[in-house]
């Protein structure tokens, strides 16, 4: 099992806080929507991930657990 950051693209409104708070895994496209690194969240960055999630005004970010 590994944790991955995921965005609900239907909820997302391109506020961009996630990229500001968590640049390690999140960048923005030319329209301000997040491009999220699909890999597992590095253990040392779990706190940053949780912070980005709690700061998203649309509550569009989440952690998804994947097997394998």
């Amino acid at each position: 099992m590994s944790d991955h950051l995921r965005v609900d693209p239907i909820l997302c409104d391109a506020h961009g806080h996630c990229a500001e708070l968590f640049p390690e895994l999140v960048s923005l496209d030319e329209w301000g929507y997040p491009i999220i690194d699909d890999g597992p969240i590095p253990p040392g960055l779990a706190k940053e991930a949780r912070r980005a999630i709690s700061m998203c005004p649309r509550l569009a970010l989440m952690i998804e657990q994947r097997s394998r």
Binding site: D13, G32, Y33, P34
Partner: protein, 430 residues
């Protein structure tokens, strides 16, 4: 001989290429004469699912997911429901409505077999509003078998590209908009009415109706080891007789074209898989078998099971631009990358097709597609990206693809845009 084959009442009448589109009319009497009634599986759900697993049947709606795995997952839930997906939102495709129009009883059989397999008692047959002959044929077929009709409901679905995506379909059937929803939950977990929902393409179901009668061994007699059975393919563009044909999986592209009367003009490229598809250079590739395993190295897949033949002199970029523009118009408008990305890609392709003097728009479109592609819910620009990649390949670009010195619009000569050619009278070839 497998358990189910032993239980079948009739010997398989439809070997080879006439499994799904046999000759004869669409009546119940004809269907009974052809296949006899469906065998009963009371108390044998597990062996039915095992037989489907042995058959190697995979979904015919685009993704090619093993059907037995889905049956198993939905069967594990309480009060499951079956949705027969006959929406066929893909504009280049006609195979589902041809199947429903010409062989409605086999589709109904498949829905009933699926109900038995998952332990449900209600099936919904979702068919696009525009497919009037299919509605008529299914309505008639249901009237011919009253007892079964109590368990099967026919529903009209909006004629939109994304309406056939399974979460969009579930949303529509739940009284919402025909737009994709975020997952999880997936329909098999929580779908129509909150119940575990099996969404299965109508062609997949038709195959289920045959496997239930004749068994896995029979099913595997055609096709390849990894991809058994036949497929319905919609063939359009530069062939003499465009239409829907049934072929064995693994049939070389050349034979598929020949079955459609042969090439109408020298061929340059083939769009495999519909609007999500990939251009394949015709030179040296006409012997490619029509099967996912053989298409994969070309970054192509059967997808929506359509084949568009692009003759020499017709511009692949212009055609791709048209597809991108169409998809941009079909966005459900829910996700930013799709709302902004698809028009941007379409715009770039259009300017290239109109003769943009340098490669900047192509690089731009490619990069945009690449980025947008990593996020979308349902209309991945990736396939456009694959198309772009091909166009960058000098072998595909060819002479009339090189950026013209003067802005000389490179227009398709005649070929109607694929999404308009849905109105072309398509014939079924058996």
């Amino acid at each position: 001989m497998t358990a189910l084959a032993a239980a079948s009442l009739e010997s398989p009448p439809t070997r080879g290429l006439r499994r799904l589109l046999p000759s004869g009319d669409a009546s119940w009497a004809q269907h009974l004469e052809r296949h006899g009634p469906l065998p009963q599986f009371a108390g044998r759900r597990a062996s039915l699912i095992a037989e489907v697993e042995r058959s190697g049947l995979a979904g015919r709606g685009g993704a090619g997911f093993p059907t037995a795995v889905k049956l198993q997952a939905v069967a594990a839930g309480r009060a499951p429901i079956v949705v027969a997906n006959g929406t066929e939102g893909e504009p280049a495709s006609a195979k589902d409505r041809i199947l429903m129009t010409h062989n409605p009883h086999l589709v109904l059989d498949g829905a009933l077999v699926a109900l038995t397999a998952v332990g449900g008692d209600e099936a919904v047959l979702a068919v696009s509003r525009r497919a009037r002959p299919a509605h008529a044929a299914l309505t008639r077929a249901l009237a011919e078998r009253r007892a079964d009709a109590r368990r099967i409901r026919l529903v009209a679905v909006p004629d939109r590209f994304v309406a056939g995506e399974e979460t969009a379909l579930v949303s529509w059937l739940n009284g919402g908009e025909a737009k994709p929803t975020f997952t999880p939950p997936r329909p098999f977990e929580r779908g129509v009415g909150g119940r575990p929902t099996l969404v299965q393409n109508v062609e997949t179901l038709a195959n289920l109706g045959l496997i239930a009668r004749y068994g896995a061994g029979w099913f595997r007699e055609t096709g390849t080891e990894a991809e058994p059975g036949t497929v319905l393919v919609t063939v359009r563009g530069g062939v003499r007789r465009p239409g829907v044909i049934e072929v064995e999986l693994g049939t070389p592209l050349r034979q598929v074209v020949d079955r459609c009367g042969g090439l109408a003009a020298p061929v340059r490229a083939l769009l495999v898989g519909g609007y999500f598809g990939t251009w394949i250079d015709a030179a040296g590739n006409l012997d490619l078998p029509l099967a996912d395993a053989a298409l994969r190295p070309h970054r192509a897949a059967l997808g929506a099971r359509t084949l568009v033949v692009l003759p020499h002199g017709v511009c692949g970029v212009a055609e791709t631009a048209r597809v991108a523009r169409y998809l941009a118009g079909e966005s459900a408008g829910q996700c930013g990358p799709c709302v902004f990305g698809l028009p941007a890609v379409a715009q770039a392709l259009e300017s290239i097709a109109a003769g943009a003097p340098d490669a900047a728009p192509l690089a731009g479109a490619s990069a945009t597609a690449e980025r947008a592609d990593r996020r979308p819910r349902c209309l991945p620009p990736s396939r456009r990206r694959a198309a772009l990649r091909r166009q960058r390949d000098p072998r595909v670009r060819g002479r009339d693809r090189a950026p013209p010195r003067r802005p000389l619009p490179c227009r398709p000569r005649r070929a109607a845009p694929a999404h308009e050619s849905r109105e072309l009278g398509l014939e079924v070839r058996r």
